[in-house]
């Protein structure tokens, strides 16, 4: 951190948030500081790892959801709306009855942090919170943001890449390999078909929720949600085969290699 670069990073929600922003070093630093304060607020409010968070008080029965603050109630309403929109594949209700907003809170924080950075007058920026990416504007040199998709079989390799732009500003990836505990299949005991699902969408909440929903809901959720929602999807099955929507970026024919 001694030299001024165009990126910054901070720790929040048990992961690391990386910030990219166009402009001088202080612009990047201020962008990261604004993003960090947004993340911190949401973490204090909704983390189940913090005994003193508002959501932990709800979980212990000390606070009724209806008496909680507007932000928490809105986040819960958002999660419930997505439960309906995904036919239950995504749900904030844990099997033990606890309301878990992990599935939306990080995305909501990313979106809000992005808005805060935009409000500072920064046109081109990118946020990567633990593998969920939201960008705005072209990069300083006019090129689109190219985001790599991690290979679930080798996390030091990339499986694919997606260029983000106007109607695809966000990409999120869910998987069973790391932190799989926030994905629970509606049918208990059935192994997830997909080890990793990446969703590119216009906004980060849609991308994040649908990636989770498709991992949890399997092939049926993949078919149903891709036909209905304006998203591009790359799904990797446990057996190594993959499926992609027509809009997922394809390699040029000449560049393909026989394996």
């Amino acid at each position: 951190m001694a030299t001024a670069t165009r990126r910054n990073a901070f720790t929040s929600m048990g992961t690391v948030v990386s910030v990219r922003a166009d402009g001088a070093a202080d612009v990047v630093a201020r962008s990261a500081a604004v993003a960090a304060s947004v993340f911190d607020r949401w973490d204090r409010r909704c983390s189940l790892y913090r005994a003193d968070s508002e959501l932990s008080r709800v979980a212990r029965g000390e606070l009724a959801m209806t008496d909680a603050g507007t932000e928490l109630r809105d986040a819960y309403a958002l999660a419930v709306a997505w439960r309906a929109r995904t036919g239950g594949a995504f749900t904030p209700h844990r099997t033990d009855g606890v309301i878990d907003l992990n599935g939306v809170v990080k995305a909501v924080a990313i979106a809000e942090a992005g808005e805060a950075i935009r409000a500072m007058g920064v046109a081109g920026w990118g946020l990567d919170a633990g593998g969920d990416v939201l960008v705005s504007g072209p990069r300083a040199d006019g090129s689109p943001w190219l985001v790599g998709i991690v290979d679930p079989w080798d996390r030091h390799e990339l499986l694919s890449a997606v260029a983000l732009g106007e109607d695809r500003r966000a990409v999120a990836t869910s998987g069973v390999a790391e932190r799989g505990e926030h994905i629970w299949a509606p049918t208990d005991g059935i192994d997830a078909v997909f080890v990793q699902v990446s969703v590119a969408a216009a906004d980060i909440v849609t991308a994040d929720v649908l990636a989770t929903a498709i991992v949890a809901g399997g092939e049926a959720a993949l078919d149903e949600l891709t036909s209905r929602e304006p998203v591009d999807v790359l799904a990797v099955r446990r057996d190594g085969t993959m499926a992609a929507t027509p809009g997922w970026p394809r390699a040029p024919l000449g560049a393909r290699t026989a394996r």
Partner: protein
């Protein structure tokens, strides 16, 4: 199949599909001799309701939908269809009161095995993809990239400890 039924029902455009299909086929058929007897029976069954059109497509629901050779069941009545070469034919885009519709027909063994709506533009001019189904893709078909060419990395959420081992950390350190 559930998704297909949903799409057709929720678009509330069974009429649009049928209209687009007929018009699209008329145009396509002129050039490819696809039309005639191959389309007529299917058209009449589709007219009876949305269930008919979703069952039309069910024969190849498991296939990628773009190639005709694979999973589509072939029928015995293939001989009269001399001019109907196997393949996938896109109709022209047709304006209906529901919006713009383009239909794609897959012919296999002389019979229509799949009918898909390729695009539907609503009245705000927004293109609504209603055939955005995921299909098999090979690893060397997806766009790949070198680590050096990407700005950020998307993957299953890593812990802050695992971040140190991640590609994202390498990119952050390198200043991409």
């Amino acid at each position: 199949m559930r998704a297909r039924a949903f799409v057709i029902a929720s678009a509330a455009s069974a009429a649009a599909l049928i209209a687009g299909w007929q018009l699209g086929n008329a145009v396509t058929g002129a050039g490819t001799t696809v039309a005639a007897s191959g389309t007529q029976p299917a058209t009449s069954s589709a007219s009876s309701g949305t269930d008919a059109s979703s069952s039309t497509s069910s024969g190849s629901a498991g296939s990628s939908g773009t190639t005709s050779a694979s999973a589509a069941p072939t029928t015995d009545s293939t001989t009269e269809q001399a001019g109907a070469a196997d393949g996938t034919y896109a109709g022209t885009t047709v304006s209906t009161r529901f919006g713009d519709v383009q239909v794609q027909v897959t012919i296999s063994g002389g019979s229509i095995t799949d009918v898909t709506a390729l695009q539907l533009t609503d009245h705000d001019g927004r293109s609504v993809s209603i055939s955005n189904r995921a299909a098999p893709i090979l690893r060397d078909e997806v766009l790949q990239a070198q680590t050096a060419s990407v700005s950020m990395v998307s993957g299953a959420t890593y812990t802050s400890a695992a971040y140190l081992q991640s590609l994202q950390a390498a990119l952050d350190a390198a200043g991409f």
